[in-house]
Point group: C2
Chain length 456, copies 2
Amino acid sequence: MIDPAVLEELVAALPGRVSTTATDLAQYSRDQGPVLRETLPVAVVRARSVEDVQILLQWATRHDVPVVSRGAGSGVSGGAHATTGCVVLSLELMDRIVEISPDDEIAVVEPGVVNADLNAAVAQHGLMYAPDPASYRWSTIGGNVATNAGGLRCAKYGVTRDSVLALDVVLADGTLVSTGHRTFKGVAGYDLTALMTGSEGTLGVIVGITVRLRYLPQAVHTLAAFFDDFPQAAAGVLAIGRARVQPSILELLDGRTLEALDGAHGSDLRRRGGSLLLVQTDGYGAGAEADAIRGALIGLGAVISEEGSEEAERLIDLRRHSRGDEVDDLYRVGEDVAVPKSQLVPYVAALEDMARRHGVKLKVVAHAGDGNLHPTFWVERSEGPQAQERLESALDESVQRALDLGGTITGEHGVGQYKRRWLAWEQSPEVLDLQARLKQVFDPSNILNPGKAIVS
Amino acid sequence: MIDPAVLEELVAALPGRVSTTATDLAQYSRDQGPVLRETLPVAVVRARSVEDVQILLQWATRHDVPVVSRGAGSGVSGGAHATTGCVVLSLELMDRIVEISPDDEIAVVEPGVVNADLNAAVAQHGLMYAPDPASYRWSTIGGNVATNAGGLRCAKYGVTRDSVLALDVVLADGTLVSTGHRTFKGVAGYDLTALMTGSEGTLGVIVGITVRLRYLPQAVHTLAAFFDDFPQAAAGVLAIGRARVQPSILELLDGRTLEALDGAHGSDLRRRGGSLLLVQTDGYGAGAEADAIRGALIGLGAVISEEGSEEAERLIDLRRHSRGDEVDDLYRVGEDVAVPKSQLVPYVAALEDMARRHGVKLKVVAHAGDGNLHPTFWVERSEGPQAQERLESALDESVQRALDLGGTITGEHGVGQYKRRWLAWEQSPEVLDLQARLKQVFDPSNILNPGKAIVS
Ligand SMILES: Cc1cc2nc3c(=O)[nH]c(=O)nc-3n(C[C@H](O)[C@H](O)[C@H](O)COP(=O)(O)OP(=O)(O)OC[C@H]3O[C@@H](n4cnc5c(N)ncnc54)[C@H](O)[C@@H]3O)c2cc1C
Ligand SMILES: Cc1cc2nc3c(=O)[nH]c(=O)nc-3n(C[C@H](O)[C@H](O)[C@H](O)COP(=O)(O)OP(=O)(O)OC[C@H]3O[C@@H](n4cnc5c(N)ncnc54)[C@H](O)[C@@H]3O)c2cc1C
């Protein structure tokens, strides 16, 4: 596939960084998303410095070799899947926290820093890095920025983009550029930082990140509210909104998810209700906010756990890991649509109806405060290709319905490779074309993660 | 300048929308920023619909006529100044609030809606549109988006970009595109919404805006803290940060500003202190937060107004209008740098030193929670050109010093026309070039607000 002499040139230019062992090629060939066509990279490069990345990209430009950037590989859209003839560039060893400035309330990190590690390091200064994807113990800040990751407490604190101030980016030809500013505000020139955020490795390789930190909350209150069924719990989300109280976390779990948690952890959640709403408030007003929310939910018939914050916090922890039990494949696909909040109830009803009609299994968790749902559809592998077709039909319908209700195909996971087939359902030919032309500005030879994030 | 037949074609295509009266040409020739070279537009078009805008841009593309978009003309960087041979496109008559969805917590507006009008309309639903530039009673949402405006309560709620979900944009050739989504989160494709936000009319004309609304706070507490001098008040900003309490408003006024307010309103602020810090907390925790802040500031020797929230709120209202007393010109220039918070104290000291050395007058207000300062430098017009040169030197030095401290040339007002000379001090040739190439993607014939926002 690749000319051995070309590969030799890379090995010589980046001694000790390049691997072509079968184990590495396999391990770095995919993320957690469904694999449409198994593909191995021609090599894996574990960069240790910005210069490493520049050398790789200069080489890649010279020889027209695709480069797939990779953080922890926790993505679920196939954004980090290897593509034909590519080198996978792993940033995981660039994992230094370069600076924490407690007075400026910012941190500067290399891309491979794991989200949880950054949070642990800044906590001693009374600070936190707010965006907390459920994969926070594992995913990297570079990957979080490249996907514009959401998370649990994004309901209150916003998504990754809202916490990124500046980026160092290596462009396709190896040029290093810096975007943004160390200050919280800044409007000099176009917002290249926001453009890079969420670009899934297709516009440049993120090699340095300046983030804004937030204050660790002075107090935290957590509620677990059980409802008879999922639509009622979704109505609870709206009731909290109508009470005009802003929780920091608002997670919705359906009965099937409760069953799965019971199975894995020996709990009795499903017995206590057909659906669970987990609510966290934080800050100086946390107690009063929790009271207001309790009032709104009890009015709807919710049963609030009497075990108090402790059990509820344990449940949030379980929720953070409730997705990790299984890896997606072509028989089990986790979705990531978002709908306007008012559409949560009808959308959830539509999902249940779809699952029934297509004969597929369904469980749903949602970052409900943002209207961002993660339905997982699955069929038994033993049922074979016909079942898989039913699964595809259910997926397509669930995405189309979300769009019909004013939603989006992806709230936080990114288009990656797997969701490209739906992008044109959401965006007009003119918008798709604009994006293809932006891509050309940054990556004229299309070597950066080709076939991902946009359609061109 | 413009071929009369070409202008006739426009008048015929947009009956009743085109004005060439001397009054209109003069009135629409400039915003509130310093004018480098007086220039009149060849016509003013007051659009009433998206179609009007499309027709204008098709015509402009056909005849290669520059188009300067304009909201209220409250900008202070010359972004809406007329340029040679241009048509000024006023969006002020497109002022319909198209939709308020209290459950989705969003509003859809035309670009000419005035910020305060949107806030008044959503308040009855317990909601607010958070970004509140001091010009909020006057400036338009379209202009706010085009400049990515900041404001007072942005310390807590973020800048305009953080509240914009979706845009309708007419491109240079008249094509209408929609970016973004009605949902709070969404990562499908590149973030064109963020790219448009702050692009100052150089990438497209914003004709529709979907904004996220926030909850009107359940309670508000306001403190007025007087300090002996400005550096001490700036130290107070840091102390609040170190207490890890997030105010919604944190405004800093120096002695000269207090004198100006006293002069205008008959108050005795300057007698009570050499500098004033105005602090607002909001939400369920407002009272406890205000207490924590009071504690931190008294420890620094601040005298907190005993007249309570009421006086402080009146002062915030005065602050909102403290910039509007005078229009900038070449003898009086308001700056808009931002520095990392830890640099507020040294930067303020440096500013005072500069003013002394260059023999110019200085007063400063700051959105201190964001490190965003508005020093106004001025000289007496009667002192003539030499004084003006001293002013220019002071301006240049103040901008360079902000950059040296890790800051930016513009925190919220935009580069416009006036700040272009400083842009290359902040951004590398590679970044400037990327922006020029992005501009080309959107506006290949360079008819959209040429000579603004970027250097090319
Ligand atoms: C159990 C589980 C829970 C999850 N929960 C959430 C959640 O709550 N919210 C959420 O948003 N996501 C969630 N995810 C998805 C995933 O964790 C996020 O997308 C995360 O941001 C990916 O980070 P990563 O370091 O693993 O990146 P990877 O998966 O390695 O890469 C993701 C994408 O970014 C690109 N990329 C990575 N690093 C760079 C870089 N330095 N420069 C340029 N491009 C780069 C890759 O090419 C790829 O396109 C979850 C995943 C799992 C498995
Ligand atoms: C007293 C006073 C206080 C101020 N306080 C603040 C403050 O606190 N924070 C802050 O950020 N700014 C502040 N400003 C500056 C100014 O009010 C803001 O920049 C505001 O956002 C401009 O809105 P506008 O409708 O007046 O736009 P204009 O001044 O008319 O235009 C501003 C820029 O946006 C472009 N533009 C306008 N409308 C559109 C559109 N629909 N599509 C495309 N481009 C468009 C114009 O071409 C121009 O480049 C203040 C100004 C004054 C005079």
